[in-house]
């Protein structure tokens, strides 16, 4: 009788371990930051590096890859800024590249060691956030646009201005992200989405305040489900996996780049400062620059690859034609990257506080 309590606890413990025992072999390197050259530690967005890419790289190079995931650029930056992170490759978004360069968290990339860099689409070569790609090699990209359900809106939606139409009151969601929300607030008035002008930002704040009454809420998690089911008519949305699924599952759901402009995001591979596996890091960069490897990002993760040569290697070509993954080139003419607003960040933050509190 006495042992029963222990038994229960012990059983609880062992069955958790047993349940997950088939889960793999590694995590032995966990305690040590000085990985030997046989290991590569990657810190990336969840879902942006398909298993097929990691497995292929491990098989070919014999390097053991550990991938950890983060929920935001800010989390990733704070972990690296504390030092001793132990990561060799990180995957910051475009504005995060700028912030990390300012803080010396990234290693300069030696272009002469790269193979296949010319496979990249021109918009990712020498981008506004990292001139000469000195610190980053874009890997995945997408847009911030509008997801809508035709059954619910009763017609076509063309731009941000529809998201200020009282017809859709209580049926619209905006992304729960400051800079993403400001894209709409700025572009709907013909202003640049990357402005640093206090007056422009203040105009956008007023516009967002005006919009708030019409919204069902700010939502970055399940907006695609809400639009897909018709519970919401319109949502500001990121292209890629979730939006692509919603579009594929329901032909009344569309993803568009707003006519007032459009913006791009890209998540790049960078070498973390202080890495002790530089050669492994370059092997990773070169491996992921190969068209057939980059194509796996589209096939296995429903995300757009920055690699032009990869487009024809994508097995399921309907994914290349899906505007919720690859935005049509003509819609991207006015599109720009959302970059670090620098000192103007405080204007955004103050405005966003007012919007959130109203």
């Amino acid at each position: 009788m006495k042992t029963k309590a222990y038994l229960a606890a012990g059983l609880a413990a062992t069955s958790v371990l047993a349940l997950s025992a088939c889960g793999g072999s590694s995590s032995g390197a966990a305690e040590s930051s000085d990985t030997n050259t046989g290991e590569l530690a990657i810190y990336a967005w969840a879902g942006e590096i398909p298993d097929s890419v990691i497995d292929g790289f491990e098989k070919e190079t014999g390097i053991k890859v550990t991938v950890d995931t983060f929920d935001s650029n800010e989390t990733m930056i704070s972990k690296l800024a504390a030092g001793n992170s132990g990561y060799d490759i990180v995957e910051p978004s475009q504005y995060a590249v700028q912030l990390m360069v300012q803080r010396n968290l990234l290693e300069k990339i030696d272009q002469t060691k790269l193979e296949g860099f010319d496979n990249l689409a021109t918009k990712f070569v020498n981008p506004s956030f990292d001139e000469g790609n000195q610190y980053s090699i874009p890997w995945a990209w997408g847009t911030t646009g509008i997801l809508y359900n035709e059954d619910c809106t009763g017609g076509e939606i063309t731009g941000w201005s529809d998201m200020w139409d009282s017809k859709y009151k209580g049926k619209m969601y905006m992304l729960d992200n400051m800079l993403s929300a400001y894209i709409a607030g700025l572009q709907v008035q013909g202003l640049s989405a990357t402005t640093t002008s206090e007056a422009d930002i203040s105009k956008a704040t007023d516009k967002l305040l005006e919009q708030k009454d019409l919204l069902a809420g700010y939502n970055s998690d399940n907006y695609a489900d809400l639009v897909g089911s018709g519970d919401a008519c319109i949502a500001e949305a990121y292209s890629g996996t979730t939006s692509a699924k919603a579009v594929a599952a329901n032909d009344k759901v569309h993803y568009i780049i707003p006519e007032e402009g459009g913006t791009l995001w890209t998540d790049s591979f960078s070498i973390a400062a202080g890495t002790d596996n530089t050669s492994g890091a370059y092997q990773w960069l070169n491996y992921t620059l190969r068209p057939e490897v980059a194509a796996l990002l589209t096939d296995d993760a429903s995300l757009a690859s920055t690699n032009t040569a990869a487009m024809e290697k994508v097995k399921d070509q309907t994914l290349v034609d899906n505007p919720a993954i690859y935005a049509p080139e003509e819609d991207l003419k006015k599109s720009e990257f959302i970059v670090d607003p620098g000192d103007a960040l405080t204007y955004y933050q103050d405005g966003w506080t007012r919007v959130s509190a109203s």
């Binding site: 997950s20 793999g24 530690a41 969840a46 298993d51 001793n84 132990g86 998690d221 699924k245």
Partner: protein, 263 residues
């Protein structure tokens, strides 16, 4: 009049109960949904369970969570028990201060603890990993692991140990043969509570995880950007099943104890 009121209250209680369990039921139902989008139910499938068992990287996060939970839970339970024992048994100086201090981690926002742990570990040159995560989780589970056995100890009849002493038992034998068996359920409760708290923690894990130590909640949380997969529903269902199993085992054990004492 009383009966009408009773009926209203009892129905209300049932509604609350249903409301509490709707999310869990939804997770189980959707884990068998053939469609990838959660708002549409297109048929039954066990596909997601198959994918789950082949998703080594997801299972590895589960393993990390289990290991961290076990280590932190065991450590917190041991330290918490000793702390509780000292605080209840001995009138040490600064007792009130110490008692207050041990509860502070319950009140301080986790994000503050997380950031300061990150700073401390990096200043001390300890690389983030299993060790730092276990230490971080001990910080947040220790208050619970101390409070639970403390309550049980306070409820113990002091004459029990006096009687043992009268019968010639030494302090150690009294502890081992009288006090410890009586406190065992509370120790088990403290461990389970610590384990669960550690297993579901996101904030502290965010700041103390390192290479190769992504936990399950961290993985799920970071998946929000590109969208959750039905695979996670399958995993959630298995975890619910597992929890029910633990409750059943502990419950059966407690029932036996009660039945034995009535005979």
């Amino acid at each position: 009049m009383d009966t009408v009121m009773d009926r209203v209250v009892s129905w209300f209680a049932r509604l609350v109960f249903v409301f509490l369990y709707i999310p869990i039921i939804a997770v189980v139902v959707y884990s068998f949904n053939a469609s990838e989008v959660s708002y549409r139910f297109t048929g039954l499938t066990t596909r997601w369970y198959g994918e789950l068992f082949h998703d080594e990287r997801l299972l590895e996060t589960l393993r990390t969570s289990a290991i961290v939970g076990l280590l932190a839970g065991l450590a917190a339970t041991a330290i918490g028990f000793l702390t509780a024992f000292a605080l209840v048994r001995y009138r040490v100086r600064g007792r009130a201060f110490f008692l207050g201090a041990i509860l502070i981690p319950l009140i301080v926002p986790e994000i503050v603890l997380g950031v300061s742990l990150l700073t401390i570990f990096s200043t001390a040159g300890i690389p983030n990993g299993l060790l730092t995560m276990v230490l971080g989780h001990i910080v947040i589970t220790l208050p619970l692991a101390t409070l639970v056995p403390m309550g049980a100890m306070a409820a113990l009849d002091p004459s029990l140990s006096e009687a043992a002493t009268d019968l010639g038992a030494t302090g150690w034998i009294t502890f081992r043969r009288v006090l410890f068996p009586l406190l065992r359920p509370s120790i088990l409760a403290a461990f389970l509570l610590s384990f669960t708290t550690s297993f579901s923690n996101i904030v502290i894990s965010t700041f103390t995880s390192g290479v190769g130590t992504t936990t399950l909640p961290l993985r799920i949380y970071s998946t929000l950007k590109t969208g959750l997969t039905p695979e996670l529903n399958a995993l959630g269902t298995l975890l619910v099943l597992f929890t029910l199993l633990v409750i059943a085992l502990v419950g059966v054990q407690q029932m036996r104890r009660i039945l034995a004492s009535t005979n």
